[in-house]
């Protein structure tokens, strides 16, 4: 076939077809962007539905039928959480056991005073013994015990028929 169109016309036609091609590409790109936007919007819309459902679900208050039971449970929960604040941590029995375990056999106690203080438990012991040596032995033994921060002999009195003494010690349970 012989193309009888002038050269300029042919070139112009080619240019126009290139331009149409470019327009098609632009349109495809814009349509793609629009489709992406629509997809994002659809996704966001479904998210919004889920979000609304969750908000509605979360704003629902527990039903009133369990009100009394929950009030009781609240008290149990509160007391359970606070229990450590209101129960004594000092093991008084073990302090008494410590005193009896460290007491020499020929010493007897006349009074034991245990008192909670900011430093620990204050121990005041008074008793009698036949030998001064046993009293000092008792104080030394007590001072060496685990948890006993300090132990000091406050007084030794008496005479030939026996001696009375008093000891002050501080005990603190090691954590």
């Amino acid at each position: 076939m012989i193309n009888l169109l002038p050269k300029e016309r042919k070139a112009h036609k080619r240019l126009l077809s290139k331009l149409y091609g470019l327009i098609v590409v632009y349109v495809i790109i814009l349509v793609a962007i629009f489709i992406l936007y629509l997809t994002a919007r659809t996704y966001m819309y479904s998210n919004q539905i889920a979000l609304d459902a969750l908000v509605a679900q979360n704003s629902e208050q527990p039903t009133g039928s369990n009100g009394e039971l929950l009030a009781k449970a609240a008290l149990i929960e509160d007391r359970l959480t606070a229990s450590h604040q209101y129960t004594g941590s000092t093991d008084w029995k073990s302090i008494l056991s410590l005193i009896t375990a460290t007491l020499p056999t020929n010493i007897s106690l006349d009074s034991v005073k245990l008192k909670e203080s900011t430093n620990g438990v204050e121990i005041l012991l008074a008793g009698s013994a036949t030998e001064r040596r046993d009293i000092i032995l008792f104080n030394t033994k007590l001072a060496e015990e685990k948890g006993v921060i300090s132990s000091s002999l406050q007084s030794i009195g008496g005479g030939s028929d026996g001696y009375t003494f008093s000891i002050q010690a501080i005990y603190k349970e090691s954590k």
């Binding site: 331009l19 919004q48 979360n58 929950l70 606070a82 203080s117």
Partner: protein, 250 residues
Amino acid sequence: MKLVTLPAFWVVTTIFALAVLFVAVFVLPATLRELNDQKTQLSAEQVKADESKRYQTIVSQIAKESATVDELYELAKKALPESAESELLLLELEVLMSQVGMSNTNINVPLNQATQSQAAAGGSVIAPQGALSTTESAPAPTQPVVKSAGDTTFTVSGEGSWEMVVTLIEKLRTFSRWNKVTAIELSKKDSVITASISAQAYTRPTSTKFIGSDPELLTKAKELFFNIQSYTTRPDPTTEGTFGKTNPFN
């Protein structure tokens, strides 16, 4: 001839560029921001929903064990009541002391907080057995506790053996009313040990909001409250006692 020489090319390209620019400047950031906000909100609501679900599970578990909850509630209320409950404390201590087997027992419990300072000075105290005794005021507990107006310092004393003293201390540890022993005084006279124990019992306002943070609540509560020892119940005029006298002085 080239494409750029065509005015239509520039018109089309400019329109396209403007459209892309519009999307890039106005649509894209706003959409991304909205999407991001929505995601954050969604995850926050999801967390809330999960918590709510967990809460509902705990509540349904509690509802299933309502009898246990009732039992635990009574024990918890007794262990740490809202008010001083001095009368019940006194009765509990009375039975406890009789079980220990000590003689010449004294129980000092301030009847109300208005008289507590008087009691410490030897004023209004209750002594079911033996004579009234003056008690030394107990030192403050070492652990931080929110002080309440209903907190009570009580003292129990009596005569007995060393074993009885140790038993008394043990029983106070598992006593139905939570307490902190603050002082112990033991003395020996004629081979009889006289013991005096001071302790602090507390009160705490009722919590009305159930948080439901611990799925093991009932198990832990059972471990704690079923191990405490109750010695008596509150007097109930509907089920006990006989009432009515013609002459009140007879």
